[in-house]
Amino acid sequence: MQFQRNLIAFKTIVNKEIRRFMRIWVQTLIPPVITMGLYFVIFGNLIGSRIGTMGGFNYMQYIIPGLIMMSVITNSYSNVVSSFYSTKFQRSIEELLVSPISNYVILGGYVVGGMARGMAVGFIVTLVSLFFSELPISNIGITLLVVIMTSMLFAICGFINAVYARSFDDISIIPTFVLTPLTYLGGVFYSIDLLPSFWQTVSLINPIMYMVNAFRYGILGVSDVDILIALPMIGLFTVLLFSYALWLLNRGVGIRE
């Protein structure tokens, strides 16, 4: 009975989240596709043709997995951070707090909502990329696993950001000052083999580098890091951050006096 109730509550949150980003699809689905389309044209087509090959693939093919992953990361994160913060701001969080819904269901619902947007944008960007290049999928299982795990991880990060946020400014600080630099430096546009050895070592502490490379391995079959290290690391971060987010919810941090 309790399981059934939780399942209905979970589906309700997920549906609400999907309804939210679909209602404003011009703001949520289209802009990232335009941005990534511009990356394909400028970096892939115009500049890429002068760069030559990287990792055995032409430059356009090399950057496509990274750009897809970048759109998944950004959109999974921003969906949850903006939606959950708006829920706090409008006080509609109280609708959830007064109901008998378990905290892990609330967290799970928002995370899956964020994943839905991240993967929807990722899918559209993938379709757009096919106008520019062929996409040989080397390992469909790893490709899907990495995209699911990464979108989950960053949806959780967005949730934690929203819990701590006290103003709308607070929800853009992490994406601007942390997420974007880490993504750009995470091997989206280059192989870390091109870096001096010191910066190669520094790059190894960037978690996004593992995700981009694991995804690139799934699509192209090449990676700067060992996939057997990358996947457990993503899994470990996901479990740790989910536990932390749940702890915050149980404590009522940022949502309950």
Binding site: L7, I13, Q90, S92, L97, P100, R256
Partner: protein
């Protein structure tokens, strides 16, 4: 019978050090229509917030229909429907979706949720607005939407925190009728309001909270019987130039057409009229200066200042 609410030594200290509740005890019986009154900042909303899981308590025990919130809060929450003071729904959602979504949070199947949503939106005269974005509703409609949302899981206890604030008189009366019907059908209702006539006409029992303490917890009739005097306004048929000589009553001339009189509990209003007749003062109409509960409320809360 197990009380609907049983609160023991409940206290709350906010992070800034402000003590909103100082160990209150409160019992509300099943089926009651109960008024929880107090000045702004007295602790009403904190008490309600703790019962509904919006505020963490510092210490004390709260049981809802015998369920201790520390032991099984979800089970306790299933008994409660709450209508908060502030609008707290997504302003961009449609009216229908807001209510159906809330049902989902309680684990109610979509088909049942939709049936109930129709029932309660019709009951609260919002069915015609079901497809409108909630931000387009008037203030009164938004309050009724929150009542519909609170009823969707058919709670045994309905808590309303100033539900008629900003609602016009006609709509307020219609909401009173709905609340009375709900109470008659067995729902326990707790009401906080600044309209004391509302509390006086609807509620059977009352608690007055002030400065974090319960200063009165009794039935409405006993409380009102404690009033030792009432002030009436007399509207006169003809203007008077001089005050009638009536030392027994505290008579005050407001203007040529109006007198104010204070009648103690042991005084008869007949005697007042006899004396006014003798002085050839003709009274056109008589009314209470203030609502009886309001007088009592002011006296009680002034005492504690």
């Amino acid at each position: 019978m197990t009380p609907a609410i049983d609160i023991k030594q409940l206290s709350k200290v906010y992070s800034g050090g402000f003590q909103a509740l100082k160990g209150i005890d409160l019992t509300v019986q099943q089926g009651d229509f109960f008024a929880l009154l107090g000045p702004n900042g007295a602790g009403k909303s904190t008490t309600i917030g703790i019962m509904c899981s919006l505020v963490n308590k510092t210490s004390g025990k709260v049981k809802i229909f015998g369920v201790d919130i520390d032991e099984d809060f979800p089970a306790a929450k299933r008994h409660i429907g709450v209508v908060p003071q502030e609008f707290n729904f997504n302003q961009f959602e449609k009216v229908f979706d807001i209510v159906v979504t809330q049902a989902g949070y309680y684990g109610i199947e979509t088909s049942i949720a939709k049936e109930r949503t129709e029932k309660y939106l019709k009951m609260l005269d919002l069915w015609d607005k079901r497809n409108e974005s909630s931000r387009m509703l008037s203030g009164g409609m938004k309050r009724r939407l929150m009542i519909a949302r609170a009823l969707i899981h058919e709670p045994k206890l309905l808590i309303l925190d100033e539900p008629t604030a900003g609602v016009d008189i006609e709509m307020r009366r219609s909401m009173w009728d709905i609340l009375t019907q709900l109470n008659e059908s067995g729902t326990t209702i707790i009401l906080t309001t600044h309209y004391l006539e509302e509390a006086e006409s609807l509620c059977r029992n009352i608690a007055i909270i002030d400065n974090g303490k319960i200063i009165q917890h009794t039935d409405m009739r006993s409380l009102l019987a404690e009033l030792d005097a009432q002030t009436y306004i007399l509207d006169l048929k003809s203007p008077i130039s001089e005050m009638p000589n009536m030392t027994k009553f505290g008579l005050v001339k407001v203007d040529d057409h109006t007198l104010e009189v204070n009648i103690k509990k042991d005084q008869s209003i007949n005697v007042l009229f006899e004396q006014l007749n003798k002085s050839e003062v003709v009274v056109k109409s008589i009314r209470n200066k203030a609502n009886r509960l309001e007088e009592m409320f002011v006296r009680l809360t002034e005492k504690t200042i």
